[in-house]
């Protein structure tokens, strides 16, 4: 189910989620990467989203799947600075990056739809982010409302150009 209900940013939820991640990691005998998700309302929070993500990564000993679009969406919806948020994440633990488009449905609300092209401010945030971290694979997410193949290829090419510029190598960018 790709529309996720928000997990309450609470201490007990940190331990609950971390325990489950550890179980899977123990079984697989390798680390997992957990994604920062988009959310449209907090639910009875005891801490910030950034604290919640950091505590889970720390407690579970897992990696982070950084969805740059989700950071942009959450920063817009909850009025925080996306770059400050990313700076506060353990970027050395990022194992994968997701990029996607979104849809603004109200004046103050963006929904993470995976159904639109990536917008320029998200490309800019992506470039700013990857300049601060080591190379990792990048995935372009698109679930529906597909553009013509050429348009999707152009999005991939743009992502590849940014990664090549930042990392000096050709990095895997997939859809």
């Amino acid at each position: 189910m790709y529309d996720l209900l928000p997990i309450p940013f609470r201490e007990d939820a940190v331990y609950h989620v971390a325990e489950r991640i550890r179980q899977v990691q123990d079984f697989l005998e390798r680390k997992m990467a957990i994604e920062n998700v988009s959310y449209y309302t907090p639910v009875a929070p005891e801490m910030t989203e950034q604290e919640f993500v950091n505590k889970i990564v720390d407690e579970a000993g897992c990696n982070l799947l950084l969805d740059v679009n989700n950071v942009y969406v959450n920063a817009f919806n909850h009025h925080y600075d996306a770059k400050e948020f990313i700076t506060g994440l353990p970027l050395d633990k990022v194992a994968y990056i997701h990029m996607a488009g979104h849809e603004q449905v109200e004046e103050d609300l963006i929904i993470d739809t995976h159904g639109e092209p990536i917008i320029d401010p998200v490309y800019e945030l992506f470039e700013w982010t990857i300049e601060r971290m080591d190379p990792v694979p990048v995935l372009l997410e698109r679930d529906y409302n597909f553009s013509e193949l050429r348009a999707l290829q152009a999005e991939l090419a743009k992502l590849k150009n940014i990664t090549t510029k930042a990392w000096g190598i050709k990095q895997h960018v997939n859809i």
Binding site: D3, P8, R10, H16, T41, P42, V43, A44
Partner: protein, 251 residues
Amino acid sequence: MLTSETIKYQESLANYCRTGKGNKIAGAIEKRLHHYRRLVFNVVKNTLSQAYPISEKVLGNEVWHNLADTFFRYHNCQAPQLWKLPFEFYEYISKNNFAQKLKLPWLNDLLFFEWIEIEMHTMPDEKQDDFTEKGNLFKDLLIVNKEYRLINLKYPVHILPVNEAGRKKGEYYVLVFREPGTGRVKFINLSVLNAIIFESLANKTFIEKIISDIKASFHMQDETRIKNHISGFINDLMAQKAILGYRNISN
């Protein structure tokens, strides 16, 4: 473990998503909650639409939407896997007599018929018994493809449009199986006699015993006719890979 307080907040949000009603949720931005209701309902409705394209088409948008909405509001789903949700929908609709309420007697059969294709397509692989491709039909044991379901319908929704099927209540059998190699789900309409024969084969019964059972149950004495019938039926099942081959006993 989550605290009872956190569980209560999550349940409140889930309850709101399902019904549009509920208590105030601490810290939540109320004016945005309806988006979650819309998004989650769309996921559920799309999942049901993909599972039951024929049912949706014949019921029409309004009835289909109302059934999906009622299911979403009142049924407490148990399976954690999204692909199993349509089966719970089928169970909910049949247990709550919607076929009777909507005066659509064929509804349960149509939903089940559509569900079984998903179940067969998605079910884990079964380890097949060893077999050889050559053998003696009347002396060797026939090896049935284990990836099958033999289903019984009251209305022939698998061969007729629903309005016509609704007037032909009876006993209908359909063999549904997954073709080895391709994974394709195939359907074969079976007579009662052929359903009995297939079930006997699946239970590893030798043809000789099946023939004597048929003679006794159907008061048929013409053994040649029975043999010819069984032979034709089994050849068809073998060609379609519902029967895989033989376990040689005759050598």
